[in-house]
């Protein structure tokens, strides 16, 4: 982490919690977790609430779909930490590594539902160009994506357009595949609370 406070500036209670997490997972506490535990009233608590609602709240999208959106937005932003974390979580949620790999490699040829493909396409444009047009949304509605699904996808996109930037600005440590798998298990069993 590029700020020392994000490595060591925690209250005694949080340090104890980190020690317990480390003991249970046998891995260092991921930098994404450290970020939301630092002065949580400023950013971590409201952000955890937003992310939990977007990723695990009621939605017509499955948990796998939303984790895939998170991974795909992260890929568009080239955020290495979040690509690894949310690809692993999407694979765990779907129990289908090939599906996630296909989308991450080529959205247009991946064997997925057309509504999901159209939604990912819109999220990619929004993330890359920072804006979309009414015609982009019209195309989604015409493809059968509901207003609620679009709003839910935009909530995921907001969460990860924020998190991707912070991961790169603060210099999150990027673990190997085992670290990402361990994190994915936690996110699938406990969510973002």
């Amino acid at each position: 982490m590029r700020l020392k406070i994000l490595d060591s500036g925690y209250t005694f209670g949080t340090k104890v919690l980190f020690a317990l997490i480390q003991l249970a997972s046998r891995r260092p506490v991921p930098d994404a977790a450290k970020l939301v535990f630092y002065r949580p009233d400023f950013y971590g608590d409201p952000m955890k609430k937003i992310t939990q609602e977007a990723m695990r709240g009621p939605s017509q999208w499955s948990v796998g779909d939303r984790e895939l959106m998170a991974a795909f937005v992260s890929k568009t932003n080239e955020c290495e930490f979040c690509i690894g974390a949310h690809s692993a979580t999407a694979i765990g949620a779907y129990h289908d590594e090939a599906r996630v790999a296909a989308v991450m490699s080529n959205l247009e040829t991946a064997p997925i539902e057309e509504q999901l493909r159209a939604t990912l396409r819109m999220l990619q444009k929004l993330t890359r160009e920072h804006s979309v047009e009414a015609a982009d949304m019209r195309a989604l509605l015409d493809a059968g994506v509901t207003r609620g699904q679009i709003e839910d996808a935009l909530a995921v996109c907001f969460a990860f357009n924020t998190t991707n930037r912070l991961a790169d600005a603060f210099g999150f440590f990027v673990p190997g595949p085992e670290g990402f798998e361990s994190g994915a298990k936690h996110l699938l069993s406990r969510g973002y609370k």
């Binding site: 590029r2 950013y43 409201p46 819109m122 009414a134 709003e151 907001f158 930037r165 600005a169």
Partner: protein
């Protein structure tokens, strides 16, 4: 308005208007990507537009200019939330226009 579109707004309101170590005008400028002076301006602009290009040196330069780590933490958070918020609001507005067109 439904509940979900307001959730990002609650975060924006907290980081901009709640207590903090950086001043509210500084946080607002970072959120809007209108920070006036270097080297902070360069860091905030990268957070908004090219986060993968941020280096140790960018952070070190801002520290050397006199800002504390807590102030940098807050201003970087504001810049990230601000850029994500602009994109989100743009998309919600585009969706509203598309839905109005559908009903017309």
């Amino acid at each position: 308005m439904e509940k979900k579109p307001t959730a990002p707004q609650a975060l924006a309101t907290r980081v901009l208007e709640g207590d903090g170590r950086a001043s509210r005008p500084e946080r607002r400028a970072a959120f809007d990507n209108t920070t006036p002076t270097e080297p902070l301006r360069g860091l905030i602009s990268k957070v908004a537009n090219h986060p993968t290009r941020i280096t140790e040196d960018d952070i070190a330069a801002v520290k050397a200019s006199g800002l504390s780590e807590d102030q940098i933490f807050e201003l970087v958070v504001c810049a990230a939330v601000g850029q994500a918020m602009r994109q989100y609001q743009n998309a919600i507005a585009a969706l509203a226009v598309a839905i109005r067109g559908e009903r017309a």
